[in-house]
Every structure is written in structure tokens, then in C-alpha cells.
């Protein structure tokens, strides 16, 4: 039987520190994906992911269990990303950094694919923060509208509205570029 997130949290709180490693392995890909798409920066996303899990660990006792662990984790993750974006705005660190391109990326189709990804990345980055985070949570994290609403503490209808408006703006930006879609 697989332990639930909440059970692992309890085991960790009972002194079984190694149990927290299970949570990290279980969620690191999702959390890193969220951080990377929110920040658009490879190293920032890696550092922020570490910071997110450390924050979760240090605040485990504050997790009351009245919401799902994943919702609590995503809320912390979004806060950390938001803080990192604010710090970066002050430090004027370059926003654009593509992930390391594989060595065999010279193939035409590969280059073309990278270009499309880059266009999507830029279009997403240009969206207002509130819409971008809903699109990322819905499209890449696969969360339901109810979960998004719970994480952001907004009505479900607002989550849907933000998604529609975000997609609408994304369509305008990407359709303006030939072959972007």
C-alpha cells in the first residue's frame, strides 16, 4: 500500500525524517516544472525548487490537514516563485534562458521545435502573472478548476475566467506570428 502525502507528513513529524524524502521524490518533477515555467530560468527554477521543499519541511507543523497536502505545497511553491520574480526584478537578472539544448539539436525539425517552444515561452511570459499561473497550473500541472481555486483562494468561476482570458490573450499573441501554432 502506498502512503498518502498526509500520512508521510505525519511520519516526518513523528521523527522519521527520511520519510520526507519520499515526498520530495514524489513531487519534485511537478514542483520543478511549475517553477521553471513560472520563472523561465533553468537555474532559478532549480534553486527555487530546493527553497520550496525546505520551506515545506520547516513549516510542516503548520500543515493542519484541512486541505490537501498538494494544495498547500502548490501555495508555498507559488509564493516562492513570486518572491523570486520580485527579487529578480530588483536585481535585473536576465529573464531569458533556455534550458540546455541537446547536442544533436542540429536537425532541422529539432530546431524548428525549439523555435516553437521559445515562442510559446515568450508569449506565456508576456501574460499578466495571475493568468500565467492559472494556465500553467491547468495546462502543465493538470489541476482541476476546484483545486486551482483552492490554491489561489479564489472562486472557481474566477479561475475559469482567468483561464479563458489568458488563453484568449495567448491566442492573440501567437496567432500574430506565422506558423506559431
Amino acid at each position: 500500500m502506498e502512503w498518502t502525502d498526509e500520512q508521510i507528513v505525519q511520519r516526518t513529524l513523528n521523527g522519521e525524517v527520511e520519510a520526507f524524502g519520499i515526498l520530495v521524490r514524489r513531487w519534485e518533477k511537478k514542483v520543478y516544472g511549475l517553477a521553471y515555467r513560472m520563472l523561465g530560468h533553468y537555474e532559478d527554477a532549480r534553486d527555487t525548487t530546493q527553497e520550496i521543499f525546505l520551506t515545506v519541511y520547516r513549516n510542516l507543523r503548520k500543515f493542519r490537514g484541512d486541505a490537501k497536502f498538494s494544495s498547500w505545497l502548490y501555495r508555498i511553491a507559488l509564493n516562492c516563485c513570486h518572491n523570486r520574480l520580485r527579487e529578480r526584478a530588483l536585481q535585473t537578472v536576465p529573464l531569458d534562458e533556455s534550458p540546455p539544448v541537446p547536442v544533436d539539436a542540429s536537425a532541422h525539425s529539432q530546431v524548428e521545435r525549439q523555435q516553437k517552444i521559445e515562442r510559446v515561452r515568450r508569449a506565456l511570459r508576456a501574460l499578466p502573472y495571475e493568468m500565467r499561473q492559472v494556465i500553467i497550473m491547468k495546462e502543465y500541472e493538470g489541476l482541476t478548476f476546484k483545486e486551482i481555486a483552492e490554491i489561489l483562494n479564489i472562486p472557481v468561476s474566477t479561475a475559469k475566467t482567468r483561464l479563458y482570458t489568458g488563453l484568449d490573450q495567448l491566442r492573440e499573441r501567437l496567432l500574430a506570428v506565422k506558423d506559431a501554432l
Binding site: Q50, P99, V120, Y140, F145, S157, T161
Partner: protein
């Protein structure tokens, strides 16, 4: 934002119940705008899906012990002098909380006693001299009145000094102007006198004072 937009979002991400989905499809058959939105957003989702995270970097966390170990790590990060100061402050706080009293007796040595409540002074201990409780209302009024009078006197003195300085300055300026005028007048008189002396030294063409001022009626005409 219409209800159809919200339903469109749920339909796009398959969050409608079968019955709701069927009803929305009925609507789709008659609404070109929703049809276009749906087609565009599906293409958009394909484009978004292309941006996948290929490789997750290794996430390493340095965690030792239970969550409370974080405080221990912070304590260990302090330099030794800061630990000593913090410990002393904490000890004094605890002693103060429990009203700990320490006394020394030559035969008995040091004696400590603690209580949850503040206690009366020890017998024989030097009593602090009672401090003056405060001033009466009349005294306070008198003090305020004296302070106001003092301030008014100082202000008056300052203004008088300023007026005197201004008067002296004006007087000095007037004297300077008067001297300048007198000098100019004297100089003009001296020049005029010199001219007259020159004229007196030359042979006069007039014989009487009247000739000096009145010309002959027929001279030159």
C-alpha cells in the same frame, strides 16, 4: 464573461459531466464564436504541450533531524560570544520571572530564594529613600507661569536688541549721506570761488555792477 466561456473552459479540459457536455455540444452547433474559440484553443493547447520539461535536475536538500533542528542549527551558527550573551539574557529573564532573590551572609554564604509573586523587602535590608511623589497643582501652575514670563521677557529683550541695532544702522547711514552731500557742496563752492577769483584778476570790461548784469540796449543791434 458569459457562462458559455466558463463552460467552454470546462469542456476544453473535460470537466463537464456527460449531461453538461451534451448540452454544451448542442450550443456549439449553433454558436460560431464558441466553435472558433474551441478550435483555436485546441491548437493552442497543442502548442503549449510542446514545452515539456525534459530533465529535472537533482534536488538536494540538507535536512538534519526533526523540523525543530532548524533552531539548533541557527544556535550553532552563532559565534561563542553571542551564545554566551544570549544565554545570560535568557537566565536573567528566567530569574526575573520567578522573583529570585540572592543574599550573602558571612556565616551562611550565598542564599537564593524564588517565588511566583513579588515579596516584601527583607528585614534589615536598606530601604530606598522615598522619592518625592510629585508637585501640587498650584506648584505646577506657578512653574508654568514663571516659564511663560521668562519666555516673554527673553523675547522682548531680543526684539529690543534688534530694534536698537536697526536704529544705529539707520543713523550711521544718514550721517554718511549728510557728509557726502556736504563734501559735494563744499567742492562746488570752492570751484565757483576759484572761477570768481580768476575773473576778478583779469581787466574788467564793465565799470559798474549794473553793467555786469545788464547789457547795453543798443550794443550790437
Amino acid at each position: 464573461m458569459s457562462d458559455h466561456h466558463e463552460q467552454l473552459m470546462e469542456y476544453l479540459y473535460q470537466e463537464l459531466s456527460p449531461e453538461e457536455a451534451r448540452r454544451f455540444e448542442d450550443h456549439l452547433g449553433t454558436c460560431e464564436m464558441c466553435q472558433k474559440d474551441l478550435a483555436d484553443f485546441r491548437r493552442l493547447r497543442q502548442a503549449l504541450a510542446a514545452w515539456d520539461v525534459e530533465e529535472v535536475p537533482h534536488i538536494s536538500l540538507t535536512i538534519d533531524g526533526s523540523p525543530s533542528r532548524g533552531w539548533l542549527a541557527l544556535w550553532r551558527a552563532f559565534p561563542i560570544w553571542m551564545r554566551l550573551v544570549t544565554a545570560a539574557a535568557a537566565a536573567m529573564l528566567v530569574l526575573a520571572l520567578f522573583n529570585v532573590q540572592m543574599s550573602y551572609h558571612p556565616q551562611k554564604g550565598f542564599q537564593f530564594s524564588a517565588s511566583l509573586w513579588p515579596r516584601a523587602e527583607l528585614p534589615g535590608a536598606p530601604q530606598p529613600k522615598p522619592r518625592p511623589v510629585g508637585l501640587t497643582e498650584e506648584q505646577v501652575t506657578a512653574l508654568i507661569r514663571t516659564a511663560i514670563t521668562q519666555t516673554q521677557r527673553e523675547t522682548n529683550e531680543q526684539m529690543a536688541a534688534q530694534l536698537q541695532a536697526l536704529a544705529a544702522k539707520l543713523r550711521s547711514e544718514n550721517e554718511r549721506l549728510l557728509i557726502q552731500m556736504a563734501n559735494t557742496l563744499r567742492q562746488e563752492q570752492e570751484e565757483r570761488l576759484a572761477e570768481l577769483e580768476d575773473q576778478l584778476g583779469q581787466p574788467s570790461t564793465v565799470s559798474t555792477l549794473a553793467e555786469l548784469f545788464w547789457e547795453e540796449p543798443n550794443s550790437g543791434y
